[in-house]
Symmetry: C2
Subunit: 560 residues, 2 copies
Amino acid sequence: MKSAEEEIRFLLDQVASGAMEAADAVKSLDVSRLAGILHPIINVSSVQGMPKWTGGITGAAGAATGRAYFSAAALLLARKLAGQRGEPGRSSPCILVLPSTFAGDVSAIAAAAGVLSAQGGYAAHASVVARQYGTVSVVAPDMTITGTKAVLGNLVFSEGDPITLDAPYKGEPSVYRGAAELTEPNIKDSGLFEFLEMARTYINDFRIRANAETPAQAERALSFGADGIGLCRTEHMFFQPDRINIFRELLLSEGAEARQQALEKLRVLQRDDFSRLFKIMAGKPVTIRLLDAPLHEFMPRNGDELAGYVNRGPAASPAAVLARIEALKECNPMLGHRGCRIAVSYPEIYAMQVLAIFEAVYTLGAAENLDIYPEIMVPLIMNASEMKLIAYGKKVTGAEYAGIVDIEEALRDKLKVRPVPYKIGAMIELPAAALGAGEIAGYAGFFSFGANDLTQTTLGLSRDDAAGFLPAYTRRDLLEGNPFKVLDKSVKELITLALDRGRLTRPDLAAGVCGEQGADPATIRFCMEAGMDYVSCSPYAIPAAILAAAQAALDRGSVL
Amino acid sequence: MKSAEEEIRFLLDQVASGAMEAADAVKSLDVSRLAGILHPIINVSSVQGMPKWTGGITGAAGAATGRAYFSAAALLLARKLAGQRGEPGRSSPCILVLPSTFAGDVSAIAAAAGVLSAQGGYAAHASVVARQYGTVSVVAPDMTITGTKAVLGNLVFSEGDPITLDAPYKGEPSVYRGAAELTEPNIKDSGLFEFLEMARTYINDFRIRANAETPAQAERALSFGADGIGLCRTEHMFFQPDRINIFRELLLSEGAEARQQALEKLRVLQRDDFSRLFKIMAGKPVTIRLLDAPLHEFMPRNGDELAGYVNRGPAASPAAVLARIEALKECNPMLGHRGCRIAVSYPEIYAMQVLAIFEAVYTLGAAENLDIYPEIMVPLIMNASEMKLIAYGKKVTGAEYAGIVDIEEALRDKLKVRPVPYKIGAMIELPAAALGAGEIAGYAGFFSFGANDLTQTTLGLSRDDAAGFLPAYTRRDLLEGNPFKVLDKSVKELITLALDRGRLTRPDLAAGVCGEQGADPATIRFCMEAGMDYVSCSPYAIPAAILAAAQAALDRGSVL
């Protein structure tokens, strides 16, 4: 069998020589083959005879080899020491090994070559974040970690031991006890970009956007051909080690003044973040999702994190932090105080984020004369009343609540600048929002369907818990595939209905899907058929999404 | 103002004397007044000058006075000691005071005169269970409990101190520091039954059923005029102190044999439970919901409960129990491994319950020649494939899975008895099930809408967490009432759609609502207009539901 690279070269040559139509070449390449170009490949001879376990699922495709670390802190420390010794990242790769990962582990996942976790599934935190950063991820439900030892089938390894992850796009992943030799991909010379350029010509006006928060992600997405950012998760920006403590200050400060100080610091950081993204994406839309995560995700999760926070200086006492952690605990955080519900309770957090966005728009726009297309997205909308309040605040509702348009207008008055057009949109990720889409569209210029959360609520399935019982469903043939990977028909019905109702109110309503299903060929096909404008997926999935969209467009063309 | 009793007497006299039409009398009585007849009333003079706090919400209406206990164990122990001293229940009343209650607290809530909790809301565990048992419930979010002291505004009290709860049907409840004098209701002589008899004549073929698990609840419901049981929650039967340890054995036993032994014990207990309910409800339908609760709710929640389990004899080690607790933990249990998902993973639990039901049906039916109308309800159905497997198992799917009809048939063959007609139904409590109702009705003879869970998933709102942020929604006018008390329009749309799709498949599909909203007059009106057959509510809510249904029927009649 040809390698993916050989196949692409072959197809390009066929087209160049006139032996094959470009459309046929695009149609003939299997989307799953692209993973073989984007990620390192294991040299088979290097793992021969090595202890091996096969099972679980691939959270993010690729191959990685490195030393195992059993906590984010241990991994980040190992990386730091390697840096001090002058070893660059690639020569001191690490694999994060944990029962499951949480918001605070994002930096470690970004720094790691791979993540091996026991709990969750394709849509769990470890998998989603790993795909976002191009880190390999394997979910191995059989793994147990006790103290300093991890056991996975017949593999036993301790912290610091070398392991290897081999996670194919399709089929079961493997874990090896030992270091493998990897062949790094050569994307630039692979013909991939040329092939994607050819594929794009068939897509017409459907767009492939990226989920991206950092400049590196945005640049990578752009290099793969992204048409802008469809999902910038602002909470990921707060989880960075230098920032999470500022956010904690905000949540723990007693007085309004201290809270305001923390908000000021965050505003400046966010403004600069947004400036960088707008600059990289100049000429293309950047969709920024206001804070979505429940507040407890920002609190220290263990003694080390707590000490790290408390010892910083003006911070609160351990008892105060623990009391706040207790107060923020929820029975079902997925159905709890998160998304725009936080803005209803604490308007100042969204107000800070919106101000930071428009400061970036107006100061950067003026200074560098860039084309900026900001889109502000409000997560977890339940009904039109929320959307009206958060988007239009005082202006429309008369309430003492600074909405997005109020904040933009006040800033523009102050800076005396000409308006930059922007959009405000609603994330449709609750069945109630899909059903109420007609009214919500009265206050929203676009809909972004959060397919992951909509799947969770429509099917009543927690993405973090489902991995425990979905295998029995698959075995008994009770579900058509993993609903976090391929949209369930009930979810599709709600999306179609929401789009219909929304466009009855607002015929030019823009719409896209930004869940983890965004890169799935069947989802892309569905989105195109439903009349959506875009999908948004992780940077490494952009090539697959472009190819899938081109194939779907070609298939539709041949049917029409 | 007349007391509720005086008003009912007055209306009955007016009708008897011909001064008023019976229909007008029924229409003129405010449903909320019935609480004043069903529950004790505080003698105002007895609480004058007593330290008082007002706020929070009523979880279950009524008035109660008694000594405060800060744990279920402490309360049950105090009741036991009082019993040993020969004090009957009413003379040694207790109030359970806790941050929030859990499955294991059911016996204490049943034994208590009142529950005062800090977390949750109208649909939280403490409130739901209290209404079920006729216990008064007040939710006071301001309350903090630290060690042996509870602080609620200016009230401070310790374990053993007398407190009084005054929880009106409408308006804010109060808590007093001290014992009040109560006037016990005199239901029998109040004219209530006569009035309800008169109201019933207007309802036609709509039915009011009860949520009932115990013989006492079933008898009370019957005395209030219930048309059968609409919801028998079998997990409540397992939470009783003498049974929960058997269920724990089931979850903790290593071998198939030990598991089978635990199942056998439970089967005998369940069979006798069902026999009693069928006997009390002879001639009326009894809807039994198969196990719905997630398994972790059955595990010990603290050191005392753990010791109580481990010290019983052949049980597991504390480490094994703790490991199982850890394994059963879920991030979002409401969206986790519960309802019929448990039957997909562990078929033997439903198989035991179904066998127990039919053993009760066939042995009791044969012995006493009673009319039994068993209805078996499968909770948390997500799609038709689940329903097909669980209801029809081998017979239809060919799978190695004993479905309800397989088990019934095998037992009947063994006992050589004539079949008793029974129904199998689906609980529609997930948006996916509502959307897929057309297919599900192919395998279900009735739909029971679980309004509580359907509200949680449709709105993405956890009933246990919402109390923390819903007040801000009410203040800003973002929601029409508490969606756990009054159905949201999105939930109503899903219910109507499910009913339409279901009846396209099966025109004689029976349907009812069995959530906590079942007793709400607006919900009853909606159910009647939607063409449902019944609502099911807690025993003490039956009179209000009958009155509300009569009023709705009279209003509809006047419109037609």
